[in-house]
């Protein structure tokens, strides 16, 4: 019984502008899937397809429930009049009808989520006044409040300081143990190698499976199209230089 | 009438030269705003006995400085700052015109232009701005082009983009000021933006754009003068309707002729 199942998914942003071809994979509950690929390789497109936001889409997508989406913090408005708690509370908007107030239960859930990411102390601070790492953790807390079985995370660790990154990865483990499925788009092959599964995209699906089996030189070359630079001794993981943003 | 004709022809020069930059550098809202904010300056010029061009220029430069300060440091989005300053100037102008100096019907000609009562000094002002526009363009066009294309790299090319951009804004302000007598404070865009935008629809290179815009501004200005005289309105509204119609025609024609039709 998979939490995410995709078969023959293709699609794009307009007729004749196909961004993704033939993606087929499945992940059960309690799995963390790293989604690897270069810029323009289709990672955001895949997420949009899973969210039901892609204009042109063919193929099958089956999810255990509506997914939560954690965007990169740069995309959020820094001058928005919201506190950290307000942002976390947004996670409850989807399940609360417009005429019902957000009560004690939702507030407590938001505070608990902030505590899980280690930010209980700053819950009343203005979102835009906090550091990049803190803001990314708050967006993750928002997804926790959403209580979704599937979470899509867009480069959650890029540009985040070490302490925040460790906190975020710890929460990944917790969510996994709770039986949720995470899809984490990332540039960092080393990080992806620590996940349960990896999906390699370069416009089309290049490989899917456990990191040890999937992250072979051929797959990486097909994914990134770059020269392999470093071979780490004592393992099958390889380092690849990735394109500048 | 001869003076009016000369004025319109002289105005065509900054309209073409600087108007092209307004369109290329996306400064249309600024051009419209800098014209509108001169309204209170125009209202006080008569009662205070100062040349309207000077009070208008003072208002325009004050606006430019205020807009720069407000837009800096993320206090307010530039468009919002421009809008607030614009409406503040209008409100102040209304109070001055209706209650302090009782300008009465004269307000219409300040807002929409009139070429009655043009003096020789007005023509000299316009000629000076026209010459200044040509000089600025010759000196700074490379910098303006580079800054518009890619601001960060322009600085590394050794061009002082901040200063030259500020001079562009000053030039536009000056052009707006001399356009006031013809089209009025509220319709400055009609002469500074519309002809250049129309030519831009068919022309992508700078020199042909500037020449074409100057020619079109001159033609539209002359026809608008004649039409305004027939209808007994200021040249501003006449040129607005004429310019808008020409623009619409060219836009429709070029959209069908070449390129994709927007969905």
């Amino acid at each position: 019984m998979s939490a995410v199942r995709v078969a023959g998914l293709s699609g794009g942003y307009g007729p004749g502008r196909q961004a993704l071809r033939d993606v087929t994979f499945a992940a059960g509950p309690g799995r963390v899937v790293g989604v690897l690929g270069p810029n323009g390789g289709g990672k955001p497109t895949l997420f949009r397809a899973l969210l039901g936001e892609l204009p042109v889409r063919r193929g099958e997508v089956a999810l255990a429930g509506a997914p939560a989406y954690v965007p990169q913090t740069e995309r959020a408005r820094l001058d928005f009049p919201v506190s950290a708690l307000d942002v976390a509370l947004m996670g409850a908007y989807g399940r609360t009808p417009w005429y019902r107030r957000l009560g004690r239960r939702e507030r407590d859930a938001a505070r608990a989520a902030l505590a899980r990411v280690g930010l209980a102390a700053v819950s009343d601070e203005t979102f835009g006044a906090l550091s990049g790492g803190q803001r990314q953790r708050i967006l993750l807390a928002r997804a926790l409040v959403q209580d979704a079985p599937v979470l899509l995370l867009d480069e959650p660790l890029s540009g985040v300081d070490g302490a925040s990154a460790a906190g975020i990865e710890r929460v990944f483990g917790e969510l996994r143990d709770e039986g949720r499925t995470l899809l984490v788009a990332t540039h960092d092959v080393h990080q992806a190698a620590r996940f349960d599964l990896v999906l390699c995209l370069h416009g089309r699906q290049v490989g899917f499976g456990r990191p040890g089996e999937t992250l072979t030189p051929e797959v990486l070359r097909a994914t990134y199209g770059a020269e392999l630079i470093v071979l780490e001794g004592g393992g099958t993981a390889v380092g690849v230089g990735h394109h500048a943003h | 009438m001869q003076r009016a004709l000369a004025e319109v022809l002289l105005l065509a020069v900054p309209a073409g030269v600087l108007g092209s930059w307004i369109v290329l550098r996306r400064l249309a809202f600024f051009a419209h705003a800098v014209g509108t904010v001169t309204f209170p300056g125009l209202v006080v010029a008569g009662p205070w006995g100062i040349a309207p061009q000077l009070t208008a220029l003072a208002a325009a430069l004050g606006f430019g400085a205020a807009q720069e300060r407000l837009g800096r440091g993320g206090r307010l989005a530039p468009d919002a700052a421009t809008g607030l300053l614009l409406v503040a100037a209008l409100a102040v102008g209304v109070v001055l015109a209706s209650d302090v100096y009782e300008s009465g019907a004269g307000v219409d000609s300040l807002l929409f232009g009139t070429l009655i009562g043009l003096r020789a000094s007005d023509l000299w002002f316009t000629a000076a701005v026209a010459a200044g526009a040509l000089a600025l363009d010759a000196a700074l066009r490379r910098s303006w082009l580079a800054a518009g294309f890619e601001p960060a790299s322009a600085r590394s090319l050794g061009l002082r983009t901040a200063r030259s951009d500020r001079l562009l804004l000053v030039g536009i302000a000056a052009a707006a000021v001399v356009a006031l007598s013809a089209v009025g404070a509220l319709l400055v865009a009609v002469i500074l933006v519309v002809p250049a935008a129309t030519v831009r629809l068919v022309c992508t290179r700078l020199a042909p754009l500037q020449l074409g815009a100057t020619a079109l501004a001159a033609a539209e200005g002359v026809i608008a003068l004649w039409w305004a005289d027939r209808l007994n309105v200021g040249p501003g509204p006449a040129m607005a309707v004429l310019g808008g119609a020409v623009f619409a025609a060219v836009a429709l024609w070029t959209a069908r002729a070449g390129g994709e039709v927007p969905a």
Partner: protein, 271 residues
């Protein structure tokens, strides 16, 4: 209550003006906040300037101003939408062309006939000429807009804060953006009789600008915006009465002064 506060509001005319402004603040305050958060200030300014032909036609034909305003706003919005799609010209250039053409057309229609309509009242408002019918119509529109914005507050916030994740939280971004423009149009129609098409921008954007500087949470900001708009209405009428200056401009200035003053408050955002 002191005489200077109550004297102006003895007669029906001023009472009507006061009620109109108080009701308008329910719409203008929150709408302005969303307009600023969505960075639509230029759209607001353009729509109000470009509606002039509608107003003039209504005045010439003796039709209700509200009708002309609605028609004018619709044409302006449609024109702006069409021009904004053309990629050859940059964002504001096409809009500037459309707006100045429409505005000039309105001026031409107003200035050419033998019996011209009172153009300056259309431009700068006629607060003291508000009839009961005007009041009811504007009031209904304003209350409707206010309620609509209150009901849509969550999706509006989600979309403005971070658009891509909004759908996963139950919002429809495209619909939000369109609804906001429609509500802007309705508010413009409601406010034009009192403030005129050139000055109504002040009542929409200025209180909101001040509120965003002074408030830390969205709800505070929205309430503050309504309060500042209402205050601008009351203060504007008082100043207009006691100093004998134009009413619409007086209200506009009373909305603008707090906004500019609030800009002196330092921002809270880390840069």
């Amino acid at each position: 209550m002191p005489g200077w506060l109550t004297d102006p509001f003895g007669g029906t005319i001023m009472q009507h003006a006061l009620v109109e402004l108080l009701v308008l603040s329910l719409a203008c305050g929150p709408l302005g906040v969303w307009i600023l958060l969505y960075r639509d200030a230029y759209a607001a300014e353009s729509m109000s300037h470009g509606m002039l032909p509608g107003l003039v036609v209504a005045a010439l034909a003796g039709a209700p101003l509200l009708l002309g305003a609605a028609g004018g706003v619709f044409v302006a919005a449609a024109g702006i939408a069409v021009v904004a799609r053309d990629e050859r010209l940059g964002g504001d250039v096409g809009v500037a062309v459309c707006v100045s053409a429409l505005f000039g057309l309105g001026a031409m229609l107003a200035l050419s006939p033998a019996a011209p309509p009172r153009l300056q009242e259309l431009l700068f408002g006629d607060l003291l000429g508000v009839t009961t019918a005007d009041l009811l119509a504007a009031g209904a529109l304003a209350v409707g807009v206010g309620l609509g914005l209150a009901a849509a507050a969550r999706p509006l916030a989600l979309t403005a804060f971070e658009r891509a994740s909004a759908p996963s939280l139950g919002a429809r971004p495209a619909r939000c953006e369109l609804s906001l423009l429609v509500l802007l149009g309705l508010t413009t129609v409601a406010a034009v009789q009192g403030l005129g098409n050139l000055l109504l921008f002040a009542l929409i954007v200025a209180p909101a600008a001040a509120a965003l500087r002074l408030g830390r949470r969205l709800r505070t900001v929205l309430v503050l915006a309504i309060g500042l708009a209402a205050l601008a209405g009351v203060a504007g009428l008082l100043v207009s009465f006691h100093l004998g200056i134009a009413t619409g401009a007086s209200v506009a200035l009373c909305a603008l002064v707090p906004a500019f003053a609030a800009m002196l408050v330092p921002a809270r955002v880390r840069r």
